[in-house]
C-alpha cells in the first residue's frame, strides 16, 4: 500500500460543493455577495450578476466571494471580460475570492486595469 495512505486523509470537506450559487445584493455597499460555486451549472447566474454589476453607476462595485468555494476558468473569464467592458474610471473589487481566481487572472490577464482583488 502506498505510504501516503497511512496518514489520516486531510480534511477536504470544505471543498465539497453542491454545484449551486446564491447571489444577493450587499447591504452596505454597491455590489453582490455570492456563495456556492461558479461552474457549468451556475454560469448563467454568475454572468447575470456580472452584467448587473456593469450597469451600476458607481465608481467601485464590490463582489464579495468569501462564501464561494470554487470558480472555474470560464467564470474567471466572464469576470475579466466584464471588467474590460467597464467605462473608464470604473472598477470591480473582488473580495475574498478562492485563491485560484487571482492566479487565473494573473495567468491570462496580467495587469488588467479595472479589477482589484482583496485576498482571503
Amino acid at each position: 500500500m502506498d505510504r501516503a495512505w497511512e496518514a489520516d486523509p486531510p480534511d477536504v470537506s470544505s471543498a465539497r460543493s453542491t454545484g449551486t450559487l446564491q447571489v444577493r445584493p450587499l447591504a452596505d455597499r454597491t455590489g453582490w455577495q455570492a456563495a456556492g460555486e461558479v461552474s457549468l451549472a451556475t454560469r448563467t447566474a454568475w454572468e447575470r450578476a456580472l452584467d448587473r454589476l456593469a450597469l451600476e453607476d458607481v465608481e467601485v462595485c464590490h463582489l464579495e466571494l468569501s462564501g464561494v468555494t470554487f470558480v472555474d476558468v470560464a467564470g474567471v473569464s466572464a469576470l475579466a471580460v466584464a471588467v474590460q467592458g467597464l467605462p473608464e474610471g470604473r472598477r470591480i473589487m473582488i473580495e475574498q475570492p478562492p485563491a485560484a481566481v487571482g492566479r487565473v487572472l494573473d495567468m491570462f490577464w496580467p495587469d488588467l486595469p479595472g479589477v482589484e482583488v482583496v485576498a482571503r
Binding site: A4, S17, T18, S39, L40, A41, F70, V81, Q84, A100
Partner: protein, 308 residues
C-alpha cells in the same frame, strides 16, 4: 509570373556533439539575429543557458533567456507560453528563438508529448516571421529521437551544413505518437455527467490530497479536472469517467470520454484577452507537469501528471 513567396517560418533542427559544437551552432545564430535587429530568445535547459550566456559575453544582455526544463516542463505549453508569447510580443519584427525541448533526461512517458510538440510548431507558426532553431544532442539522444527530428523539421543542420530533410512529415509524427493510453490497474474511477461535475472534482481532490498533493498544486488540479470534465459534458458526448492514481511521486488524473479532439493545436494557442471562452485546455497545459492525449473516433483520453 513570379515565384510563390518563400515560407517565412524557418524551423531547423541542429545536430550537435559536445559543448563546442553546441556553441558553434548556436552563438553565431544569436549574433546574426542581434546584428539584424531581431529580438532573440534562448529557451534551453539550465546548464546550456550558462554555456550560452558566457559564450555570448556582453551580447547576452540583449537576449531573453528561459530555462526550458521549467517553462517547458510540460511540452504542451511551450508553443503558447514560450514561443508564441515571445513572437507575439514583437508583432512587427522577425524573431529568432533557440528552443531545445528534448534532452536526454526526458522520460519515455514525456517523449511522445515532446515530439508531438516539435511537429505542431510547424502549423502553429506557419506564415509567421520567425526562425526557431532546435538543438538535438546527438551524443545523448537515441536513434529514434534523432530520426524523428528529421520528420518534425523541414530543414536540418548537420556538420554546419543546412539541408532539406528527406523525411519531413509532421502530421504523421503527431498521429504516430497518438499512442493508446490503457486504463491503469488500481486507478480509482468516477463516472460523471453534467450533474456530477462538482462531485467529480471533489472525488479527484480528495484522492489527490491522500496521495500527498496540497496547497496551490491541489487547487491547480481541481481547476484542471473542472475543465476536462466540463469539456466532456459540453463537447465530449455529455459524460465521461475520471480516474486518479499515484505514480512515482506524481498524482496522475485522466478523463476519458467519447468525443474526438479534431484540432491538434487545441490548448496551444494563446487566447486574446477579450475572448470569453476557449481557455480550458490552455489552462490544463499551463498548470500540469505533463499532459498526454490519445484521441480518435473511439474517444479521447487526457492524462495529466502533477508533481507532489
Amino acid at each position: 509570373m513570379t515565384a510563390p513567396p518563400a515560407e517565412p517560418f524557418v524551423h531547423p533542427a541542429l545536430f550537435y556533439r559536445g559543448e563546442q559544437e553546441y556553441v558553434d551552432g548556436t552563438v553565431p545564430f544569436v549574433r546574426e539575429g542581434l546584428a539584424a535587429g531581431e529580438p532573440v530568445a534562448v529557451a534551453v535547459p539550465g546548464p546550456k543557458l550558462d554555456v550560452l550566456r558566457s559564450a555570448l559575453g556582453d551580447a547576452a544582455t540583449d537576449v531573453r533567456f528561459i530555462d526550458m526544463t521549467q517553462a517547458g516542463r510540460n511540452p504542451g505549453r511551450i508553443i503558447p507560453k514560450v514561443l508564441r508569447v515571445f513572437a507575439d510580443a514583437h508583432p512587427k519584427a522577425r524573431v529568432r528563438i533557440i528552443g531545445e525541448p528534448i534532452w536526454p533526461d526526458r522520460t519515455g512517458v514525456e517523449y511522445p508529448a515532446c515530439v508531438q510538440h516539435e511537429a505542431l510548431i510547424n502549423s502553429a507558426f506557419e506564415g509567421r516571421d520567425a526562425t526557431i532553431l532546435c538543438p538535438y544532442d546527438e551524443a545523448g539522444l537515441s536513434e529514434q529521437v534523432l530520426s524523428d527530428a528529421y520528420a518534425t523539421h523541414p530543414v536540418v543542420i548537420s556538420d554546419g551544413r543546412w539541408l532539406d530533410s528527406p523525411s519531413y512529415a509532421p502530421e504523421r509524427v503527431v498521429e504516430r505518437y497518438n499512442e493508446p493510453l490503457a486504463i491503469v490497474e488500481g486507478a480509482e474511477g468516477y463516472v460523471f455527467g453534467a450533474d456530477e461535475l462538482p462531485a467529480a472534482r471533489c472525488f479527484v481532490a480528495e484522492r489527490a490530497a491522500r496521495f500527498g498533493l496540497s496547497g496551490v498544486r491541489l487547487d491547480d488540479l481541481a481547476l484542471v479536472v473542472a475543465e476536462l470534465t466540463t469539456n466532456s459534458v459540453v463537447h465530449g458526448g455529455g459524460s465521461g469517467t475520471v480516474y486518479v492514481w499515484g505514480e512515482g511521486g506524481q498524482v496522475v488524473c485522466e478523463v476519458r470520454d467519447e468525443g474526438e479532439l479534431k484540432d491538434a493545436l487545441a490548448g496551444r494557442r494563446p487566447s486574446p484577452p477579450a475572448q470569453l471562452g476557449g481557455r480550458g485546455l490552455l489552462l490544463v497545459n499551463y498548470l500540469m507537469d505533463l499532459v498526454r492525449v490519445r484521441t480518435g473516433v473511439e474517444g479521447t483520453v487526457v492524462r495529466c501528471y502533477v508533481d507532489v
